[in-house]
Symmetry: C2
Subunit: 329 residues, 2 copies
DNA sequence: CTGAAAGCGCTTACAG
DNA sequence: CTGAAAGCGCTTACAG
């Protein structure tokens, strides 16, 4: 039978009150230095650690932050998650990981996390409704979105500059003389898909061009292969294929190889995100860097800002992107 | 100011005692069916959900399970993590994610998780000492290791059959007539590196062969490239390079391409794990499938088994692997 | 600086 | 089946 040593045990052993033990473990509390040292020493000897669940009940901080992540096995989600978790841990928070699978009920998930008295929620997957934002607000837990924004001042968000990223890519392609450009979009109704396509169309229009054709994958590499094949076989004489993310671009590179089509000579291929794998493989990807570390830092900053000032207006932080020119375009 | 509605509020509104509302939310409790429905309805209307932190304090289940994961942005760790998290969530547990970076202090991390009264810990990264197992035991939280085992009955573990996997790969190479085989190991002192190398050496010895050369990377793709280049440039006339995991094998494939060396004609390359990306790219990898889903399921099973019987002997579950023959060997 | 007391929100014997 | 009471382990006013 495991014996849990409590503050009372330490108090008894150290010859002080239970409150004293609590104070010894509370950084700012007013305790005599020598006494604190003594209590801490006794606690150490007994193997005592404050029960964070009990502390959380007191209305104090629980230190818990809910993190809603998508399919973790995908490069971008994994990469982003790593940074979020790292930043949270480094700042004394414990990430409660909520996996958002396609059939996941976001409302149910958030409610569950809220029941754990999380101090906030960072949502980097799925679609967030007004309803969810309201629930979080009602519980006093700040909600921060990553890579998606809610209309009408619903929640704080941090999102990269999708539009500008696509402009930079289009600019490069146009300068290379590319004119017959195709678009391979990602999952429908996702914020990234919409903004990125919008960026492409705007930029093309600026040059008096428009897309030759559009197809849609699901952000996965394999969908990039199949849609890439379809595009390449379409006999549209495309000279560039722009993809909504790196994974699909990598798939299109694969498709081109299967058809014996040279990249970038015959067709240029562009991605988005600059995930760790983008520089490797058959053809290093020309893409746009999505600054995930900065994103994670900003997300935490927004979270903490709102804790201190729950009623200020919602902010949408746009983090900058940078063109990463490599071989594929 | 967010208002937290408590069981008392519901009790008052429903005209019952607080104990009654607690029972209404406790599946097996004896309550009049009609009354439970009524309480639940009132609770719903008020937006009440039991505070899980308070419930956890009662000595009840917290539902929390610590999950120690490695560098999440690496394919294998991400893939495994996804399955662990999925299995945990599907069974009513909340994963508390602890990131194990190279400089992470595992003992400190586990202690912290224990302070949250986790019901168990699944460790899939870093090296685990006896000390950590003892701490978990003292707290009554079962510890389950994945992909590593502790000597002398220290903790439950689930691990794939590294030895057999490597035998299968060696067998295939030998049948192809390969004789000049190199080994590219992973991070020193890791369980996977040791067992996999051992498997290779045993199997080669069985055929009267031995390794031509050994080098060591760090399980990353980029280390596969650099070590692969070194191996390929060594003029040892190698006809096969066996790698301790897929990421490094993918790097070696890349190195071969850079040198204009044909795979598998000039040199065969093998991996381990069969991560999602192994089938893609320049040269689909011949590898061994590490059954992560089964691994995650077994890990949870071990966890729950020990909760019910804390004192039974430790078990090490070996999950089976299967050869996945593709183009690279 | 320190201790006794009250309370965080829940669950679980204990009676009935 | 149901309620009043005690208690989970901690922190925080409240006195001193």
């Amino acid at each position: 039978m495991p014996v849990r040593v409590t503050a009372d045990d330490v108090a008894k052993a150290a010859g002080v009150s239970r409150a004293m033990v609590s104070r010894a473990f509370t950084p700012g509390a007013s305790v005599a230095v020598r006494k604190r040292e003594h209590v801490l020493r006794v606690a150490q000897a007994l193997g005592y650690r404050p029960n964070l669940i009990a502390r959380g009940l007191t209305g104090q901080r629980t230190g818990l932050v809910a993190v809603v992540a998508g399919e973790i096995s995908r490069p971008y989600e994994a990469w982003l998650l790593e940074h979020i978790v790292r930043v949270l841990s480094a700042n004394g928070y414990q990430p409660l990981l909520l996996p958002a699978f396609r059939d996941a009920n976001m409302t149910e998930m958030i409610d569950h996390a809220l029941a754990y008295q999380v101090e906030g929620a960072i949502v980097a997957a799925g679609s967030v409704s007004r309803d969810i934002a309201d629930r979080c607000q009602a519980s006093g837990a700040p909600l921060v979105l990553i890579g998606r924004v809610l209309e009408k001042n619903g929640a704080d968000a941090v999102c990269c500059d999708n539009i500008k990223g696509m402009w930079q890519l289009v600019e490069r392609l146009v300068k290379q003389g590319r004119r017959r450009i195709a678009w391979l979009g990602g999952t429908a109704d996702t914020f990234s898909d919409q903004e990125r396509r919008q960026g492409v169309e705007e930029a093309l229009a600026h040059y008096g061009l428009s897309l030759q054709v559009q197809r849609r994958g699901d952000f996965s590499l394999s969908s990039g292969v199949s849609e890439g094949l379809a595009l390449l076989d379409s006999r549209l004489a495309l000279d560039a294929i722009m993809c909504a993310n790196d994974a699909m671009a990598l798939g299109v590179v694969e498709a081109a190889a299967q058809r014996g089509i040279k990249v970038p000579d015959d067709v240029a291929i562009t991605g988005f995100d600059d995930v760790p794998g983008a520089a490797w493989g058959r053809c290093p990807l020309t893409t746009v860097r999505n600054p995930v570390n900065e994103t994670a830092l900003e997300a935490l900053r927004l979270l903490e800002t709102r804790v201190h000032n729950p009623t200020c207006d919602n902010q949408v932080i746009r983090v900058g992107v940078t063109l990463v020119p490599r071989s594929s375009a």
